[in-house]
Symmetry: C3
Subunit: 107 residues, 3 copies
């Protein structure tokens, strides 16, 4: 038995949750505090058999990999006009820890 603890960007948290549940994994989500440094993350706990760890990581990875997006950005120019051009920002991404479970009980 393993415990997968995944810190998932809020951008992807809903998709990760839905995909894991659809595949039959029991998911618990922990609320993160509002501090500016860690805003925007959800921490997932998933207990799973050893031989399904790869599947859990694959699901999380598929739904939440760090990626770049083009977003509009505006610059004001000298004479009061402005130019809008796309800039690349990084969104999404997860940090995943797999822990060994010494003992597991469902009561």
């Amino acid at each position: 038995m393993k415990l997968v603890l995944a810190i998932v960007s809020n951008d992807d948290s809903g998709m990760v949750s839905a995909a894991l549940t659809k595949e039959g994994f029991a998911v618990t989500k922990l609320a993160t505090t509002g501090g500016f440094l860690m805003a925007g993350n959800t921490t997932f706990i998933v207990g799973t058999e050893d031989d399904k760890v790869d599947q859990v990581i694959s699901i999380i990875s598929k739904q939440s990999s760090r990626r770049t997006q083009l977003v509009p950005s505006a610059t004001t120019m000298d004479v009061g006009m402005y130019s809008s051009f796309p800039v690349e920002v990084t969104v999404g991404g997860s940090t995943i820890f797999v822990l060994n479970v010494d003992r597991f009980e469902k009561v």
Copy 2:
């Protein structure tokens, strides 16, 4: 040293917390997010000596085992009357993970 991570139904969370505290265990409760899939759970963290893990699991189990309850249920019948009969629902229950602690410090 072991770390017990228990996901406890909110039905039983108060009783589990009180019983663990009464027996001298230091309990930390983590807030779960409001998502519909995991509503109704509280996650407990309890650090304990190896030889007290059985006691922790026994306390949690005693206070929160999955069980059925009879609750009233009403059915509307043809002529405007209704019949109230009991149905069995499952309440409570916990999922418990015991993790090995590599190092423990109280500062």
Copy 3:
């Protein structure tokens, strides 16, 4: 790879968070529920290489050790006068669990 799970007094939570971040550690904070028994704590998750665990514990310890403070205390006396004298209270403190990480992925 190790996962450091630290339960830190709210008195010290901001300082611990700032000090860990300044030293380059990625910090996730979990919200604790408002129950009276565990009010006043924040739970930190920090993933780190094995050889930096001492540094993480040292930072947390430095910013949050349990200590006594003198605070004013007032006693009402017989004739309507009162005497204010200092009493010693304990503030701060952390409980730190280090867990072995079976597998680590950043996606």
